[in-house]
Symmetry: C2
């Protein structure tokens, strides 16, 4: 698939990537799997040699006769644009659960990186959680935008979750991991992952009950 690029892509190439991305997604919707540099060049009115150079920057290699795999190109361009950032997160709510998640060892394989931490409590703001200074809620939008974060982890009390989630989406968050009970109302393209700690207990308790009448 994609190999990670070592050298930074020149700015003019970066600026062309969103145009490629839009076109590639259109091809994909039409059911295409492969695309040639020539088609891309024709459609976007770029010179074929420039398209070939731009494709080289993405790290995706074309196959003779079929061209480039569209999914691979989409992933690679998203990666180059930093739009595929699905491991950096902002944590909102530094209670016991927030601290537990921050210190949880099990994330190793999934690459979760908490880059910014926010809370409402003036006693907590300014202190550190695992090396990160806990920031006030006012600084939420700024943190999300500055770090290009797409994932928010919400361990705040239920009553604030909807309002915070709306602010996060406006700031550019596309995935929300919500630990508060209740449903979030957000645009359909926002991925919401709800983890209800009580579910595990309910399952265990119910399995034990079933075992009793066995």
């Amino acid at each position: 698939m994609t190999s990670k690029i070592q050298n930074p892509i020149p700015l003019p190439a970066i600026r062309r990537l969103p145009a490629y991305l839009r076109l590639l997604k259109a091809y994909k919707i039409e059911g295409e799997t492969w695309v040639s540099a020539t088609s891309l060049a024709q459609e976007l009115r770029y010179k074929p040699i420039q398209v070939r150079k731009d494709m080289a920057w993405t790290g995706v290699e074309g196959k003779p006769k079929v061209g480039f795999n569209i999914d691979d190109l989409i992933l690679a361009i998203n990666y180059q644009l930093g739009w595929d950032n699905t491991t950096d997160a902002v944590l909102i709510g530094v209670g016991n659960l927030g601290r537990a998640l921050d210190g949880y060892k099990g994330f190793g394989n999934y690459g979760l990186k908490t880059l910014s931490v926010h809370d409402t409590d003036p006693q907590k703001i300014g202190t550190k959680l695992d090396g990160l200074i806990i920031k006030p809620m006012d600084a939420l939008e700024d943190s999300v935008k500055r770090f290009g974060i797409h994932i928010a982890i919400l361990t705040t009390p239920t009553e604030y979750v909807q309002e915070i989630a709306e602010r996060l989406v406006t700031a550019g968050i596309t995935g929300i991991w919500n630990f508060a009970p209740g449903k979030l109302k957000l645009p359909a393209d926002i991925v919401i992952q709800r983890t209800d700690l009580a579910t595990g207990f309910a399952e265990l308790s119910s399995k034990l009950k079933n075992q009793i009448i066995k």
Copy 2:
């Protein structure tokens, strides 16, 4: 089904309940759904009038001609014997996760009650968590037995989990809710519920990745 009994059952009746339970489970295995007081009396060599009185203590009402529903009786007797205790729990590990679980509001509907809390840390032992004095690990077996607890919540570091789980099972625990990564090796009749906090993040991250190539 069963209605909760207000008056305590007389001790002689309580002592007969395990015998009923064994027989009822045997009937169930043979595929029976209903049992009459007469059959129970014959099989156990009790007087029919005594069986009828004992059944009355369970709170399960018999149906004319078919008798008592076996599942209902098993549940009711387990309840009377305190063997159906699937909401009381012992918590082992008072770190951030342990505290988060203890304070989690979402358990309301499921009735989780933490009756005993244990940790290895001498700094924590003797202090209180939500009104309960944190006890040393030595006191684990005693707590489990004294409170008749069947559920243990394990938020200890992975390396200690197997050993603690074995001690718990010996003490009478039948269900373990394990938050530590890795698999527990325990007898087949022990219900193990594993909650891996990283799973939620992995799902969210993967959904976001899939959305990128859409």
